[in-house]
Amino acid sequence: MTKKRTSLFLVIPTVAILVLIVIFPMFYSITVAVQNYDIRIPNHTFAGLGNFIKILTDSNFYHAALVTGIMLAVELAVEFVLGLVLAMLLMQIPLSRKLYQPILLIPMMVMPVVVGYVGRLVFEIRSGPINYLLNVIGIQSLQWHASPHLALITVMILRVWRWTPFVMATLLAGLLSLPVEPYESVQVDGANARQTFFYITLPMLKPVITLVIIMRALEILQAFDIIYVLTMGGPGISTMPLSLYTYLKGFRYWDIGQASAAAWLIMIPLSILVTFFVKMMEEEEVEVEEKK
C-alpha cells in the first residue's frame, strides 16, 4: 500500500464518523427547519422560511436572547474576576493550596439539578438562610426567584457559585505553568506588583483566558438545568434563556420545525463568537512564536 493510500485509509473512518455525527444531523436539521414538522401530525408539509419567520417575529425569542445575553455578559465577567482572584490567592499559599483547592472545587462537582433544588431552599423567601442572614443585618427579606426582577440574578448567583471553581482551576493551572524567568527579569528592573500583573502575568495568561472564556461562553449559551428546576423560565418569561425556549418548542410543544429553525438562528451568532475567539487564540499563538 502506498503512503498516500495508507493515509487515505486512516482518514476515512474519521471522516465517516464526522459525517455521521456532525454533517448529517446538521443537514437533516435544515430539512426539518423548512418543514411544518410536528411529530403528532402525520404530514410534514414544506414551510420554506416560515419557521424562521415565526421565530423572528416571536417577541419571546428576543426576550430569551436578551436573557441569554445578560447571562453571558454578567456570568463571564463575574466568574472571570472571581476565578482569577481565587487562583492568584491560591498561588500565594503553595503549602495549603492542596487543602483549599479541592474544597473550592466542590460546587463544580454538584449536579446542576441538585443545585437548582438546593437553590429553591436556600433562597426560600420566608425560611431560607439567605433571607435570614439579610434580616440579621437589618435588611428586609428579598423575593429572589419569586420576583421577576430578581429571579435572573438568583439564577446567575447559583450558576456563578457552580462555575467559578472551574474558571479558578483552569486559570490556576495556567498560572502554575508560566515560566519564572520573566518574573525574575522584571524584579531586577524594579517593577511593582501591579505592573507585573498587567504587563507580565495577564499577557502570558491570555491563551488560557481565551480558552476559559470560550468554554464558559459555550456552556452559558446552553444553560438549562438549574433554570429548569429553579424557575422553569418564570416568573412569566423573566428567566427563559434561548436553550429553554428551544427545548419548549421542540420537546414540549413538539414543533420540531420551529425548534430546528430556532437552533439554527442561535447557531449563527454562536459560530461568529467561537470563530472570533479561535482567531484571537491563533493570533496570540503566532505572537508568542514570533517573540520566541
Binding site: 410536528d38 411529530i39 403528532r40 420566608r126 418564570g234 416568573p235 410543544y253
Partner: protein, 484 residues
C-alpha cells in the same frame, strides 16, 4: 474461516432458542401459569408512583408467570418519552402510565378496553371507578381507553380552628355584614376572608398573639403549574355553561369578560398571600400550610385531606387544637344561583399500547393491580405511594375508616365534591394549550403583562394558532370527544 462458522452456528442456535422462548403462546402452560415466559414492560412515573409495580412484580411472576419490567421516567419527561416511543412504533412499552390530558395525542397508539371489560364481566371494576374520574379520565370518544391509577382532584382546605372561633366570627360579621361563611362558597367570600385573616406577627388571631405573620390565602403559583389555580376560578366564573372553547366553532372562550374577572380575582388574592408565592411549587405550599400553619385557606390535591391529622397548630401562643377544614372549591353566584365545580385533575391513568405483543397479558397485569381488592386498597391507603382514591371501593372502605379514625370526613367530602367534577382540557396538544395559559398567567401575576385582558387575549390568540396547526375541524371533533 472455521472459527467464524462455529460462531455463526452458535449465534443461530441462540437466536432459535430465544425465538422459541419469546414466541411462547399466551394462555395455558404446563406450569399452570397463564402467561408463563411473557415479559410486560410498564413505563411509570418515577419514584413513589412506581413502587406498587415493583412491589407486585414477584407476585405477578408467581401467579401469572409474567415478568414485569418497570421503566421509571420522571414526570417531566414522561410525555416526551412516551410520545417518542409510541409515534416511532418502537413497541418498547406494553402498559403506559400517563396523564389523561394526553389522550388526544395518544389515541392512535392505545388499545380500547371495552372488549376486555365486557368479556370478563367487568372484573377490573371499571364501574367501580367514580363517574367523575371515569368521564374525565378514562372514557374518550365514548370508548373505555384507560384505568384510573391516581384519583387526583382538588379540594379547598382551610383552618377550621380559626373559622370556628366565636370572636373571629363576631368581628367578621361586624366588618363585612354577613356571617363568616364556613366553608366559603364563592370566590368573593374567599377574598373577604383572606383580607380579614391576613395579620402581622404580634397581632391577635383567635384571641391569641401571633408568633409569625399569618396569611389569608395562597396559591401554588410557580410557573409550570399555575394554570391549574387559574382554572379553579375560570370554570366557575364561566358558569352556567363553562367551556374552554365554543363547541360549535372552537373559538377560545379563555378571554371572555368572565375569564378576565377570574384572573383578576387571582391577582387580588395575591395581596393576602405569603411573600414569594410566585415561586411556590407543591412542597412550598404544603409546608407553609400544613407544617408551618401560616396559611388560612388554600386549594391543593388530596394529600392534605389524607394527612388531615398532621396539620400544624396555629402560629400563636397556646394554640388551640388544629382542625383542618375540607370543602369543594369555591364557586360563583349567577342570577342568585351558586355554581361550584371540582376540577378533576387529568392525572394518572394506565392504558395498553396497540404495539404490545401481549395485550392479553398486559390486561391481566392491569387487573392484578387495579381490580377492587385488598391489594389495590392497600396501595391507596399507603400515602407514600401517591395513588389517591378513585373508586367506590376506596371511598366506602370500612377497613380504611377503622385504620385511620377521622378519615371518613375527608372521604365523604371528596365523594361529595366529585359529584360536581369538571374535566381538564384533553384535546391533542393539551400540554401546549395549558402551557401557553400558564406562561401568560404567570407573567400577568408577576407584573410583566399589565392587564388580565391583555394576558388572556394573548392566550386566545395562541390557542387560535394551535387550533389552526392541528386543524380546527379535527380539534372540534376531539373537543366533542371530551364530553362524550
Amino acid at each position: 474461516m472455521r472459527k467464524a462458522f462455529v460462531i455463526l452456528m452458535a449465534l443461530m442456535l441462540l437466536a432459535a432458542f430465544s425465538g422459541f422462548a419469546g414466541g411462547q403462546k399466551e394462555g395455558g402452560t404446563p406450569s399452570g401459569k397463564p402467561y408463563e415466559g411473557v415479559k410486560i414492560s410498564v413505563v411509570a412515573h418515577s419514584g413513589h408512583h412506581a413502587t406498587p409495580w415493583y412491589k407486585e412484580a414477584d407476585n405477578i411472576k408467581k401467579s401469572l408467570g409474567i415478568t414485569l419490567n418497570v421503566i421509571e421516567v420522571s414526570p417531566d419527561e414522561l410525555y416526551s418519552r412516551e410520545m417518542l416511543e409510541l409515534s416511532q412504533r418502537t413497541g418498547a412499552y406494553d402498559i403506559i402510565q400517563y396523564n389523561s390530558a394526553w389522550v388526544g395525542d395518544f389515541e392512535n397508539y392505545i388499545l380500547p378496553l371495552d372488549n376486555y371489560i365486557a368479556k370478563d364481566n367487568d372484573a377490573i371494576g371499571f364501574n367501580d371507578i367514580l363517574p367523575a374520574f371515569r368521564k374525565a379520565q378514562d372514557i374518550w370518544g365514548g370508548k373505555k381507553v384507560s384505568i384510573t391509577i391516581d384519583g387526583d382532584t382538588f379540594l379547598f382546605y382551610y383552618r377550621k380552628d380559626v373559622f370556628e372561633d366565636p370572636g373571629e366570627q363576631k368581628a367578621f360579621k361586624a366588618k363585612y355584614g354577613y356571617a363568616l361563611p364556613d366553608p366559603p362558597q364563592t370566590w368573593q367570600q374567599v377574598v373577604d376572608l383572606a383580607q380579614f385573616f391576613t395579620r402581622k406577627k404580634g397581632q391577635k388571631l383567635a384571641g391569641r398573639t401571633l408568633t409569625k405573620d399569618f396569611y389569608g390565602y395562597a396559591d401554588q403559583a410557580k410557573r409550570g403549574r399555575v394554570y391549574y389555580w387559574y382554572l379553579f376560578r375560570y370554570v366557575p366564573f364561566s358558569a352556567p355553561n363553562p367551556h374552554y372553547f365554543d363547541p360549535n366553532t372552537m373559538k377560545p372562550l379563555i378571554n371572555s369578560s368572565k375569564a378576565v374577572k377570574a384572573l383578576e380575582n387571582m391577582k387580588e388574592l395575591l395581596k393576602y398571600s405569603p411573600p414569594g408565592v410566585l415561586s411556590w411549587e407543591w412542597d412550598e405550599l404544603y409546608n407553609a400550610a400544613m407544617k408551618d400553619g401560616t396559611v388560612c385557606m388554600w386549594i391543593h390535591w388530596t394529600d392534605e385531606g389524607r394527612g388531615f391529622n398532621t396539620l400544624a397548630p396555629l402560629p400563636v401562643e397556646n394554640p388551640p387544637k388544629p382542625v383542618l377544614g375540607i370543602a369543594g372549591t369555591p364557586g360563583v353566584k349567577v342570577g342568585g344561583k351558586l355554581y361550584q365545580y371540582t376540577i378533576v385533575d387529568s392525572a394518572w391513568v394506565a392504558s395498553i399500547t396497540k404495539d404490545s405483543k401481549h395485550p392479553d397479558a398486559a390486561y391481566a397485569v392491569l387487573k392484578w393491580m387495579f381490580a377492587p381488592s385488598e391489594r389495590n386498597l392497600s396501595f391507596i391507603m399507603n400515602p407514600d405511594y401517591g395513588w389517591d382514591p378513585s373508586r367506590y371501593s376506596h371511598f366506602n372502605s370500612k377497613e380504611w375508616r377503622q385504620k385511620v379514625p377521622g378519615i371518613e370526613n375527608y372521604l365523604n367530602l371528596e365523594l361529595k365534591a366529585l359529584e360536581k367534577g369538571y374535566p381538564m382540557l384533553k384535546i391533542p396538544g393539551a400540554f401546549e394549550y395549558n402551557d401557553v395559559l400558564d406562561v401568560n398567567v404567570s407573567e400577568y401575576l408577576a407584573g410583566g403583562i399589565k392587564t388580565a385582558k391583555e394576558a388572556l387575549d394573548r392566550v386566545a390568540s395562541k390557542w387560535n394558532e394551535l387550533n389552526k396547526k392541528f386543524g380546527v375541524e379535527k380539534q372540534k371533533a376531539f373537543y366533542a370527544k371530551m364530553w362524550q
